[in-house]
């Protein structure tokens, strides 16, 4: 067996277009069905008075077999000489869409199945749309049941044209559109000669040609803090490196708090002296400074930090039994962070099978519908746009007790910037004249200012703080600081720069008012 990555494949498509049969055939053709399992299925089928059903491999629940439908997703395993596969079966019925999405969300690639006799149907389109929302880009289309229409080439081409046109609108380009019969095994693992007009790969050849897609080490570092363990007198930030790489000695920023420090150690059990960890690895990190950051923060490199935001626009899909409502507050779970968010506006409501916009600024999204929604967050969150980092650009929406839907971040408000950097004012040196100086003139990004009680005492003793600005836009965080801590401020010019001088108003501001 190859030791390369496992590829997870989801099989999607309209109900009764042959998903379970296709899966059964793949297992059968690759010799992955244990003999006793085959006998058990044969016996069950015989007892029900029907021919051998490959579908029974995955449809294991009694209700599934008796009613001949797939209720819930299941996964199973097979290998080719190229690599290992996990096959995820996804139910086709609309009422089981949440199960379909549960299955599909973890997939690296998909087989979209279309019945050649029936053509593209409602769930074919809805499932294709879900693939696009979930970011699954590697797709093979299988046009099934061609044995029932004598492997008619013209009919195959009509279906191929329909599905290609629809996928085009979703920005999905299928790797191949393959004419098959899952029942007969045509163009599955091998060819039986019924489609001499088809020159492309079989299903197995197409799967083997897919690339490995997980553990992207080429993107910037994203290490969401999953938990903080304070064991053996140390503070360990535990988490999984989602993308990029973390090294001992790296200067890193925690977002959204903006705290900056260096990585003291990268830890794994029984691996002392570990110097680095890459995408996909679960590690612990200790830092040089004692920071008090919590689960939900994302560790990144200072120059490539995620965006700190309180508002974003997302494509969402809704699965819960009750509608998604504009104006309602939901919990958004993104990586390991959880924040309260108000759905400010359902900007677009789409029909999830036709993708037509069926309304703008709507009050609700119904179950299984998709839409574009503007969220306002009650506390800041570190995010990426989905197009730039899939793993930190997607989230789920919790509706009271359950996950009700998911979404991908399209745009972030105040989008021109990158990270907001936070300064703690206690850190700055006292200048010759007794004033402390904070120099923001080199900061290209947004800033936030923090104070400590000790620093406020310093101001109370009559000292001043000089904040050197790059741009008048930076006045806002300074003014906010002054407002929150009851400080006075005046502007001063220093050649081409603007300075703001902060001081503590004595006597609750009476002095300043008298001066005014």
């Amino acid at each position: 067996m190859s030791q390369s990555e496992t590829l997870k494949i989801v099989i999607v498509g309209h109900v009764d277009h042959g998903k379970s049969t296709l899966i059964g055939r793949l297992f059968y053709d690759t010799g992955s069905i244990p003999e006793a399992r085959r006998q058990e299925i044969a016996a069950t089928c015989k007892a029900q008075g029907r021919p051998f059903e490959f579908a029974y491999l995955m449809d294991a629940l009694e209700e599934e077999r008796v009613q001949n439908i797939t209720i819930d997703t299941a996964s199973s395993f097979f290998s080719t000489s190229r690599r290992r596969y996990v096959i995820i079966d996804a139910p086709g019925h609309k009422q089981f869409l949440k199960n379909m999405i549960t299955g599909a969300a973890s997939a690296d690639a998909a087989i979209l199945l279309v019945d050649g006799t029936e053509g593209v149907r409602e769930q074919t389109k809805r499932h294709a749309h879900v693939l696009s929302l979930l970011g699954i880009r590697q797709v093979v289309v299988a046009v099934n049941k061609l044995d029932m229409i004598d492997y008619d080439r013209q009919r195959f081409q009509e279906v191929e044209n329909d599905i290609r046109a629809f996928l085009h609108s979703l920005h999905i380009v299928p790797a191949h559109v393959i004419p098959i019969s899952a029942r007969e095994g045509e163009n599955m693992a091998g060819r039986q000669g019924h489609t001499p007009w088809y020159a492309g790969p079989t299903i197995l050849e197409a799967l083997d040609a897919f690339g490995d897609v997980r553990g992207d080490a080429t993107l910037p570092l994203r290490l969401p803090v999953q938990d903080v363990y304070t064991w053996d007198g140390r503070r360990i930030y535990a988490g999984r490196v989602e993308t990029g790489e973390i090294r001992q000695g790296d200067e890193v920023i925690f977002q959204p708090s903006g705290k900056v420090t260096r990585v003291k150690s990268v830890e794994k059990w029984r691996e002392p002296g570990l110097e680095r960890a890459g995408a996909g690895e679960c590690v612990g990190i200790t830092t040089e400074d004692e920071l008090f950051v919590e689960r939900g923060e994302i560790i990144a490199r200072l120059q490539q930090a995620p965006i700190r935001t309180r508002e974003f626009r997302a494509s969402i899909f809704w699965l819960a039994d009750t509608p998604f409502r504009a104006g309602a507050t939901y919990t958004i779970k993104l990586a390991t962070a959880e924040v309260q968010a108000v759905a400010v506006d359902i900007e677009e409501r789409l029909d999830s099978s036709t993708l037509e916009v069926i309304g703008r600024h709507e009050p609700e999204l119904q179950p299984t519908e998709v839409g574009t929604v503007l969220f306002s967050l009650k506390t800041p969150l570190a995010v990426d746009r989905y197009g730039e980092n899939v793993r930190t650009g997607r989230f789920v929406i919790q509706d009271s007790l359950q996950i009700g839907g998911g979404g991908t971040i399209q745009t972030v408000e105040g989008d021109a910037d990158r990270a907001v950097r936070r300064f703690s004012l206690d850190d700055f040196q006292v200048g010759a004249d007794g004033a402390r100086v904070v120099d923001l003139s080199l900061e290209r990004n947004g800033v936030e200012l923090d104070v400590t009680p000790g620093f406020l005492d310093h101001l109370s003793a009559g000292n001043r703080l000089i904040v050197r600005l790059r741009d008048p836009v930076q006045i806002e965080p300074v003014a906010l600081l002054a407002y929150e801590h009851n400080l006075g401020f005046v502007f001063s010019r220093d050649r081409d720069r603007v300075n703001v001088v902060l001081y503590r108003e004595r006597d609750g501001g009476a002095e300043a008012r008298a001066a005014a």
Binding site: E35, A60, S76, D227, E281
Partner: protein, 267 residues
């Protein structure tokens, strides 16, 4: 990531840490078999050598003596807090497989487990089940809620995507967490080999027989085998054509036996 074993390991560690953070009063069901022993090894990786929750072994009193000896020795070595749970009243009443295997499983295992959970106030359990073991397990979620009566609503499970698990539940809900759901039997053995995990000696052949799956004496049979090392077992598994649980008599009682047992809280 170097191999698919690294990938499987990382996913399990992620699940452990997520559950440990989200739920209080967790315990791990320890059946003394290869899967739950591997699961303990993964927990120690997740928590830097610790096992920060108790292990629970449900003792039906029909277990092999080698299992009990191994269990107690390993628990000491790991520094684990081991709780042994029994359905004492059913044992006193003489419950055994001769009155029906499924009934025996339900009383000694399922009821024994629910009594133990109740006595210790556990809100959730780690279980070492895998999707490839059997059909109804393949349908499981990683975080699987059970209601007050311990029942699994397999027809209406909550969505679970992108490693975002459902972690808030109505009062009275009991959560089952499955950190190795995504592993196969062969993965487990390859990992045991790589990590040098010590197993119960019953897995290794003696007098031409060994156990592939460990359970109670009356319902678990050995297979013909001369495999005495982990390497030999892996070779044997690669060639084998029978399912893992073929030696488990309770599974063969009727077609949907496992689904029915599991809907009522069986592991």
């Amino acid at each position: 990531m170097n191999s698919h074993l690294d990938e499987l390991e990382a996913q399990s560690i992620y699940i452990f840490r997520e559950a440990y953070r989200k739920f209080e009063n967790l315990a791990m069901l320890y059946s003394v078999g290869k899967d739950s022993t591997t699961m303990i090894h993964l927990a120690r990786k997740a928590f830097f050598g610790r096992i920060p929750f108790p292990l629970v072994h449900i003792d039906t009193t029909y277990k092999y003596p080698e299992m009990i000896e191994y269990r107690d020795r390993m628990a000491r070595e790991w520094g684990a807090d081991l709780i042994v749970g029994r359905n004492e009243s059913a044992i006193a009443a003489g419950t055994g497989p001769e009155q029906g295997r499924l009934d025996c499983c339900a009383k000694l295992k399922t009821d024994g487990l629910s009594q133990t959970i109740e006595r210790h106030g556990f809100n959730g359990l780690f279980l070492g089940i895998r999707r490839d073991e059997e059909g109804s397990r393949a349908k499981e979620r990683v975080f699987s809620p059970r209601d007050k009566n311990f029942e699994w609503s397999y027809k209406d499970q909550p969505p679970e995507l992108w490693d975002q698990f459902n972690t808030t539940f109505a009062p009275g809900t009991h959560i089952r967490v499955h950190p190795i759901l995504h592993w196969t039997e062969l993965d487990i053995w390859l990992y045991i080999q790589r990590e040098g995990i010590e197993l119960c000696p019953l897995y290794f052949a003696r007098d031409g027989k060994r156990f592939r799956s460990l359970g109670c004496m009356p319902c678990t049979g050995p297979i013909q085998s001369n495999a005495v090392t982990v390497e030999e077992i892996i070779e044997e598994l690669r060639a084998i054509k029978t399912p893992e649980r073929a030696g488990r008599a309770q599974d063969q009682e009727n077609t949907y036996a496992m689904q029915k047992l599991r809907a009522k809280g069986y592991m």
